[in-house]
């Protein structure tokens, strides 16, 4: 089993290396190679799910008695996550064959995808925190590569940079957290060795543990784009749409949730008790609400989906945060939502990709419309995805969201009501998107000429559509999502069910009524919605802050460096040396006898000092 697992990890890396160093000049070969490798990894992942757990490691770095391991840990959690990652990855790869058919740098694109698959596999299989950090950074890097795929576009290049930097800020906290936790848990990075020291933690260290957990959460804030570091994700939509589906919706952004849950499984939820867990849950809650509000006023089809991703990630983080109070079940609910969300969000993004492709790279939904008639199959799959995201029963999104809301109601009622509010907003903006883009009449010639996409793009959509419906059923979910016995107990309609059903009907109905048959947004001039449209002016605020802090400080420091350190303090040394030199220069008359006299006087002085002065 271990060999298979190592192969699972290394196959994409080998593929990326082969593309970069071998078949770079033949894009078709690169694409086929990449697809072949990801199909291989998917098969391995499925094979592994039906086998027993495994683990294996080797020493990566040794320093005296200290070692850093690179190892794989194949428990239920990792194996299930692997199926999600490779499954979505495989479908996205296949979809890309069509979507990126005419791209100039196809080989680079598929190379980047392979690097991403390698990195993501590493995060999932990591058996210690350092290895997770390594691959954590690598996914950030591959995301940078892929967002900046069309680097000639200024906005794409800037977005890639922004994504990397914002993630770096999160990783700043993440690394401190890892190091602190390392010190707290008896200097071990291995997940397998964390449980015992975590149980034995004295009460006096509760505060420092909480701080450490929150710092680790910083990493998740960056990678999973939680408030206040959420700003990079919408911009990341500058990348090719399949990339958005794979990285910025289904897998990478969920890595933060996965990482937190991995920590909960390894060290127990006890370290999340107290202010740490509460803070995490609230950050999740705030993110889900803010993102949903912003999503209501976006015109770019991908940006709507991006904000809905933020919102859904907020749900997951909220669930993971609740685990401090509620125990591991809450975390499992978050993971369950991660799992279902991966399928239907990938579906939605790929669907939007198909639409964009069909409309000749038009992303503004107000310039679409009437696509239902021109591309019915795509529209059907998109509708399925929309329903799943709206959490319409009995689609997959419904079950997982239900679980989270139930946990919230039990342990943190205010967060439940935020969640319920978002459950109104989600159907509202999704209905807006669907009505505007697919129903009505075409509002632009791009939409008029839209045709159904080729099968290579349609097939992944259909597969994902099926999965968006069925993935939550226990037949499939039980072997992939850890310890999920939700369905085993059966389902009884309760208060949460009625509230969310009401929210769904309210939001969807409101959205349909408001936007049906419109050609421009009726709420655009409402000052409140203007605030949403402009993302609460957070981007501008950050830009100002960065400009003020980073650039001004850098300029000031540079000035001080030049004039204070270089000019006055240390430069003073140089200048006084030069001045002294000028004095001595006078003595260098160039006259032989002058030198001889000095020389003679010096000798006399030496004689005096050595002979007479003692």
């Amino acid at each position: 089993m271990e060999y298979l697992a190592w192969l699972l990890l290394l196959l994409p890396l080998l593929c990326a290396a082969a593309i970069q160093f071998g078949v770079k000049d033949s894009p078709a070969a690169a694409a086929n190679l990449s697809v072949a490798s990801v199909v291989g990894t998917f098969l391995i992942a499925v094979l592994l799910v039906f086998n027993s757990d495994f683990s294996s490691s080797f020493t990566w770095a040794t320093a005296g008695t200290f070692t850093i391991q690179i190892g794989i840990l194949g428990d239920q959690l990792a194996k299930g996550m692997m199926v999600v990652v490779t499954g979505v990855g495989m479908l996205v790869h296949i979809f890309s064959l069509g979507y990126m058919k005419d791209d100039e740098a196809k080989a680079r694109y598929f190379g980047g995808l392979s690097i991403f698959m390698f990195s993501m596999t590493g995060i999932v299989l990591a058996d210690n925190f350092i290895m997770m950090f390594i691959f954590w950074e690598l996914v950030g890097f591959s995301s940078y590569l892929l967002i900046g795929h069309w680097f000639e576009k200024k906005s794409a290049a800037e977005a890639a940079k922004k994504a990397f930097l914002v993630n770096r800020i999160g990783d700043f906290g993440f690394m401190i957290g890892i190091l602190m936790l390392w010190g707290i848990l008896g200097q071990t990075f291995l997940f397998a060795e964390m449980e015992a020291p975590a149980k034995a933690l004295p009460e006096s260290q509760a505060t420092i543990v909480g701080i450490a957990v929150l710092l680790i959460f910083c990493g998740a804030v960056g990678k999973s784009a939680q408030f206040p570091l959420h700003v990079w994700l919408p911009d990341a939509m500058e990348g090719p749409t399949p990339v958005s589906a794979l990285i910025h919706a289904a897998t990478m952004v969920a890595a933060g949730v996965y990482m937190l849950f991995r920590l909960q499984v390894a060290a127990g939820t006890s370290i999340f008790e107290g202010f740490a867990g509460t803070t995490i849950a609230w950050i999740g809650g705030i993110t889900t609400l803010l993102a949903a509000l912003m999503a209501t006023q976006q015109d770019d089809i991908k940006r709507v989906l991006a904000y809905s991703t933020l919102s859904q990630l907020g749900y997951m983080v909220m669930a993971v945060g609740l685990a401090g109070e509620a125990g591991i079940e809450a975390g499992q609910a978050g993971m369950f939502h991660l799992y279902t969300h991966a399928w239907f969000k990938a579906l939605l993004f790929l669907g939007s990709g198909a639409v964009i492709y069909a409309c000749h790279h038009e992303q503004n939904m107000w310039k679409m419309g009437g696509l239902f008639r021109r591309m019915p199959k795509t529209t059907m799959t998109f509708a399925v995805g929309t329903l799943a995201l709206m959490a319409a029963p009995p689609l997959s999104g419904f079950w997982s969201k239900e679980l989270i809301l139930a946990q919230a109601l039990e342990h943190n009622p205010p967060l439940f009501w935020i969640g319920a509010g978002v459950a109104v907003l989600t159907p509202f903006y999704m209905m807006r998107l669907f009505v505007v883009a697919f129903l009505g009449k075409p509002r632009d010639h791009g939409a008029e000429k839209a045709k159904e996409v080729p099968p290579v793009m349609l097939v992944p959509l259909i597969i994902l559509g099926v999965l968006a419906v069925v993935s939550a059923f226990s037949l499939i979910a039980s072997s992939i999502v850890p310890d999920n016995d939700f369905h085993a107990h059966g389902f009884h309609p309760n208060m949460v069910f009625w509230i969310s059903l009401g929210a769904l009907l309210l939001g969807a109905g409101g959205g349909f009524l408001l936007y049906h048959g419109r050609s421009s947004d009726p709420l655009a001039n409402n000052p409140l919605f203007k605030l949403f449209r402009n993302k609460f002016y957070l981007d501008e605020l950050y830009l100002k802050l960065v400009g003020l802090f980073q650039d001004t400080v850098a300029m000031a420091v540079h000035f001080l460096d030049e004039f204070l350190i270089n000019g006055m303090i240390v430069g003073g040394l140089a200048r006084s040396t030069a001045g002294l030199g000028n004095i001595f220069r006078r003595l260098q008359s160039g006259n032989l006898q002058g030198y001889a006299i000095l020389f003679g006087a010096g000798i006399l002085l030496v004689i005096y000092l050595t002979v007479f002065a003692r």
Binding site: F584, R585, R586, L587, Q588, S589, G590, N591, L592, Q593, A596, I597, G600
Partner: protein, 106 residues
């Protein structure tokens, strides 16, 4: 026979005269001669010490005289090279007056 003190005094006197010549004269060849004089004065010191430092076998300390031999050899080489440099200098500058040779002025 004269004492060590006297020999040393004569040696010092010659050395001082040579030094004075180096400091006062401007003709670089004469300065060079004065340097040779100073060297020879030092040789006198060595030989005097050699003579006044007789060993148990009743012979002078010949190590001192060997040193003088070496000094004279080196001085000969020095004179040859020094004079060649002076000739080259004269070719370049048409002067042997040290007052005019101040290209090393800082």
């Amino acid at each position: 026979m004269a004492s060590l003190q006297e020999y040393l005094f004569v040696s010092g006197l010659l050395f001082a005269i040579g030094l004075a010549g180096v400091l006062v004269r401007r003709n670089i060849i004469v300065i060079f001669m004065c340097l040779e004089l100073m060297l020879s004065a030092a040789n006198l010191t060595l030989v005097a010490f050699s003579r006044f430092n007789t060993g148990p076998d009743g012979l002078p300390d010949y190590n001192g005289q060997v040193l003088v031999f070496f000094i004279i050899t080196v001085a000969a080489a020095e004179v040859a090279v020094g004079l060649a440099i002076i000739v080259a200098l004269y070719r370049a500058r048409q002067t042997v007056d040290v007052e005019d040779l101040t290209s090393m002025r800082g």
